[in-house]
Amino acid sequence: MTIGDVGEAGRASLGALADLVRSAARLVQAEIETVAGPVLRAAERLAPRRTHDHPEPVAPFGQPGGGAQEQVEEAKYYVGAPIGRPVVDREVGELPRSYGTDRLVLLPRDPWWLFAYWEITPASRVEALRALGDEAAGTREVLRVYDVTFIEFDGQNAWSWFDVDFAPGAESWYVNVGKPATSYCAELGLRTASGRFLPLVRAATVQTPSSQPAPEAQVRWATLKPTAGGSPGVAWSGRYVPTDPAGAPGSSDLHTPR
C-alpha cells in the first residue's frame, strides 16, 4: 500500500496517526519534533485540517483513532446496548457568561507575558460612570499594569506602570510585560479623556518567572530531620536498606556509590 492508494478514510487515518505520534509520552518536545516531525507533517498534509500549525508538544497519552473530528464524534457517541441503570446525560446549556462579581486575575504565562482576565458587573460600570459625571463622555476601560517588585502596593507607590488599551468588549488580554522575575499588580478601570484613572477592580500580585540563573548569593544549608519512622526520610521494609549514617546494625551497603 502506498500513499497514493490512500483514500478518504485512509487520509483521516493518517491524521489519526499523526495524532498518535504526538499522543505518545511527552518528553522533550523539541526532540520528538525532530525525530518524528517530517513524518507527522507528511501525514498531516494528507489528513483533514487541524486548526493549529505550531510545533508540537505531545499529548499526555495515546489517542487512538483520532481522525477527523466528525468521525471521532460519531464514534464516541455511539450508543451500544442499553444498560439498565440511571445514566447521566451530557449537560445541557453553556457555562455562565459571567459570575456576578467584579474580578481581575493575572496569570503568568512565562517570564515576559501575563494573561489577564476580568469581569466587571453592569452595576459597577453604571456606578463608575455616574461617579465620573461630566467626565464620563470619552472614557474608556483600560488595564493598568504596575511593577510592584518588593512593594506593598497601595495604588500609588509602584515603580512604574503602563496602560493596556485593549479592544473594547474584551474580557481577557495577553500583556507583554517583558521583565522576568518581577512582581506585577494590575487594575482594571476607566481612564477619562483628560487622563484621570478611576480603578474598578484590582488583581492579586503575581510574579513572572525568572529566565536565567540567579547571581551568586550567600549559600545557606539545612539538614533534614528524620521522619517519625526513625530512619531519615524513608520508611523501609524490604531488601534494600539505605546506608544509615549512624551505622545501624544490619544495614546493607548495596547502594552506597563507591
Binding site: L20, E31, F61, R109, P111, S210, P257
Partner: protein
C-alpha cells in the same frame, strides 16, 4: 561516585463512560495496561527474581489509581484483552507459512496471553496491589501526583483548589498503599514559589522540577541540577537531567527512533483487509490501533520492512550499554566539581515505555541491570538520596514546567485560556459553600462532596493540553463543561435546599472516583 534516579510518571485522565457499551477514549487505559503497566511489572519481577540491586520511583496519579480499581473498567479491560488474544490467535493462524510475519504473530499471541495471565491469574485484576508488593519488597518507591493532575500554578488563584488537589492525592495514596507518600510528582513539573508550602502541609518531603527550575533557583544552587535543594518550607526539590533526556529523545542520539525498532504507525488495524479486522475496530467501523504491529521503523521511508525481534534486541542492548556508559562519564565529570556524589534524575512518562517505544521496558531493564553491575554507579530514588544526604542547600526553585517552552504557555494559550475564569470562580464558590456547611446533613454532604469531585475532574490539566494540541478537542471541551456545570448545579441545589436525590445518585455512580472523599477537605 554517582546515582541515577529513574522516575516513571504514570497518569491518565479519569475516563469512564458507563452510559456507553464502548467508549473510544477508554482505550487509553486498556492500551496503557497492556503495553506499559504489565510489561513494567514483568520487568520488576525479572529484576526481583534475579536479585538485582536496583531502585526506581514510579508515580501513579490518583485518577489512574481510581480507574485501575474500578469494577466496570476492570471488566471492560478483560473483555478488551480477551478480544486482543482472539485477534492474536487469528493472526497466528493467518500468517502461518509466512517467514517474516508468523514469528511476530506468535510473539504477540504469547505477549497477549501472558498479559492475560498476569492480569487475571497472578494479580486478580489488581495491578495496584502488584506495584504495592514490589514497593514492599524494596524494589520501587511509589509516589503520587495531584488528585486529578491539575496544573497547579494556574489553579493557584483559588488557593483552596490547590490545597485540595494535594491533600486528596495524599489521602488517596494512603488508601491504596497503606503509608504516607514521601514524594510528590508535580503535574507537568509545574512549580511556582509557594506550592512547596502546600506540599509540606500535606506531609510530602520532595518533588521534581524541570532542569531550569533548579538552575534558575534563587539563590543559585552550587550543584546545579545534580543535587537537590530544600525550600524554606522543608520540602526538597530534584531537577531533571537534560543529558539523559536527550539520550532518549534526540534526533541524533535518541534511541526510540532507531530503524530496527518497532514502528508505531503500521498497525494491523489500518493495514489488514476490512472485513477481517472489522470485529476489532470501533463499533462505527472506524479503523483504530489494535496494538499488533509488524513493521520496523526502517528509516525515513514509507516502505516499512518487517520487524525482527532479534535485531531489535541487539539494538536495545547497545542502547542500554550506551546509556549506562554515558551516565558513568557524566558522573565522573560532575564529581570533580561537587562535594557530594551527583544524582542524575531521569523522569519520563511511564507510557513511553512499551506503548510508544515498544522496546522501552527491555531497555529500562537492561539499564537497571547495567547500573547495578557498574562500579561507581547505582540506581536510586530521591527518597533514598535524602536519607543518605540530608544536608541540602536552601533555595527556592524558579517557576517552571517541563512543557514546551518551559513555562505555562501550553496550558495558557488562545485555545484554553477561557477555562480559568470558570475554574477559579467555581472553585471559590464551592469553597465558600463548604465553609458555610461544616456539619451538613447526609444529603448535603453527598452533594457537596460530589460537587468537589466534579470540580476536580474539570481541573485536570489534560483537557487544556488537548485543546492546545488540537487533538480530541471536542471531547476535552465537553468534559470541562460537563463537570463544571454539574458542580455549579449541585451548588445551586445545595443553596436552595433542593438537592435532587436521583440525579445525585446517578452522578455518584458515573463520576465515581475518590469514594472516600469528603467535602470538608476543602474547608
Amino acid at each position: 561516585m554517582g546515582t541515577v534516579a529513574f522516575i516513571l510518571h504514570a497518569h491518565l485522565p479519569f475516563v469512564r463512560h458507563p452510559e456507553h457499551e464502548e467508549f473510544l477514549e477508554e482505550r487509553w487505559l486498556y492500551e496503557a495496561i497492556t503495553e506499559t503497566y504489565i510489561p513494567l511489572l514483568e520487568m520488576l519481577d525479572a529484576l526481583d527474581r534475579d536479585g538485582v540491586a536496583t531502585r526506581l520511583t514510579i508515580s501513579f496519579s490518583p485518577t489512574l489509581l481510581a480507574m485501575l480499581g474500578d469494577r466496570l473498567l476492570r471488566g471492560r479491560y478483560l473483555r478488551h484483552l480477551d478480544q486482543l488474544v482472539e485477534l492474536a490467535e487469528k493472526e497466528e493462524r493467518r500468517t502461518r507459512g509466512d517467514g517474516a510475519f508468523h514469528p511476530l504473530a506468535e510473539m504477540y499471541l504469547a505477549r497477549c496471553s501472558r498479559a492475560r495471565t498476569v492480569y487475571l491469574d497472578e494479580w486478580q485484576h489488581d495491578l495496584t496491589a502488584a506495584f504495592r508488593s514490589f514497593q514492599e519488597r524494596g524494589l520501587i518507591d511509589v509516589i503520587t501526583c495531584g488528585a486529578t493532575h491539575g496544573f497547579l500554578p494556574l489553579l493557584a488563584a483559588a488557593p483552596a483548589a490547590v490545597r485540595t488537589q494535594i491533600e486528596v492525592a495524599a489521602n488517596e495514596y494512603r488508601r491504596f498503599f497503606g503509608r504516607t507518600a514521601e514524594g510528590f510528582w508535580l503535574p507537568e513539573c509545574a512549580y511556582q514559589p509557594g506550592l512547596d508550602v502546600e506540599l509540606a502541609r500535606a506531609g510530602f518531603r520532595w518533588f521534581a522540577v524541570d532542569t531550569h527550575g533548579l538552575t534558575n533557583a534563587a539563590p543559585r544552587p552550587v550543584a546545579g541540577a545534580y543535587a537537590p535543594i530544600v525550600c524554606d518550607s522543608g520540602v526538597a526539590a530534584f531537577a531533571r537531567d537534560p543529558d539523559s533526556s536527550k539520550q532518549v529523545w534526540s534526533a541524533d542520539e535518541g534511541y526510540p527512533g532507531d530503524c530496527w525498532y518497532r514502528d508505531f504507525y503500521r498497525d494491523i488495524g489500518f493495514d489488514l483487509e476490512y472485513d477481517y479486522i472489522k470485529p476489532y475496530l470501533l463499533p462505527t467501523g472506524e479503523r483504530i490501533h489494535t496494538g499488533l504491529k509488524y513493521h520496523r521503523i526502517t528509516g525515513r521511508t514509507d516502505q516499512k520492512l518487517p520487524y525482527e525481534p532479534a535485531r531489535a534486541r541487539e539494538r536495545v542492548q547497545a542502547h542500554a550499554a550506551h546509556f549506562v556508559e554515558a551516565r558513568q562519564r557524566q558522573v565522573e565529570w560532575l564529581a570533580h566539581s561537587m562535594d557530594r556524589p551527583p544524582i542524575i534524575v531521569c523522569p519520563y512518562d511511564a507510557e513511553l515505555f512499551g506503548h510508544w517505544w515498544f522496546e522501552g521496558p527491555q531497555w529500562l531493564e537492561l539499564v537497571l541491570r547495567g547500573l547495578a553491575a557498574t562500579p561507581g554507579l547505582a540506581a536510586t530514588t530521591p527518597g533514598d538520596d535524602l536519607a543518605r544526604h540530608p544536608t541540602l542547600q536552601v533555595a527556592t526553585p524558579a517557576a517552571s514546567s517541563w512543557g514546551w517552552k518551559g513555562y505555562n504557555e501550553v496550558w495558557l494559550a488562545g485555545e484554553n485560556d477561557w477555562l480559568y475564569r470558570h475554574l477559579h470562580a467555581t472553585g471559590e464558590r464551592l469553597h465558600g459553600l463548604c465553609r458555610r456547611y461544616p456539619g451538613a446533613d447526609e444529603r448535603t454532604r453527598r452533594a457537596l462532596t460530589q460537587a468537589l469531585r466534579e470540580l476536580m475532574l474539570a481541573q485536570a490539566s489534560d483537557w487544556a493540553f488537548m485543546m492546545s494540541r488540537g487533538t480530541t478537542v471536542d471531547y476535552a471541551v465537553r468534559r470541562v463543561k460537563d463537570h463544571l456545570l454539574r458542580c455549579q448545579r449541585l451548588c445551586d441545589e445545595v443553596e436552595a435546599g433542593t438537592v435532587d436525590d436521583l440525579r445525585l445518585a446517578a452522578l455518584e455512580d458515573t463520576d465515581n472516583l475518590f469514594p472516600a472523599l469528603d467535602y470538608r477537605v476543602m474547608v
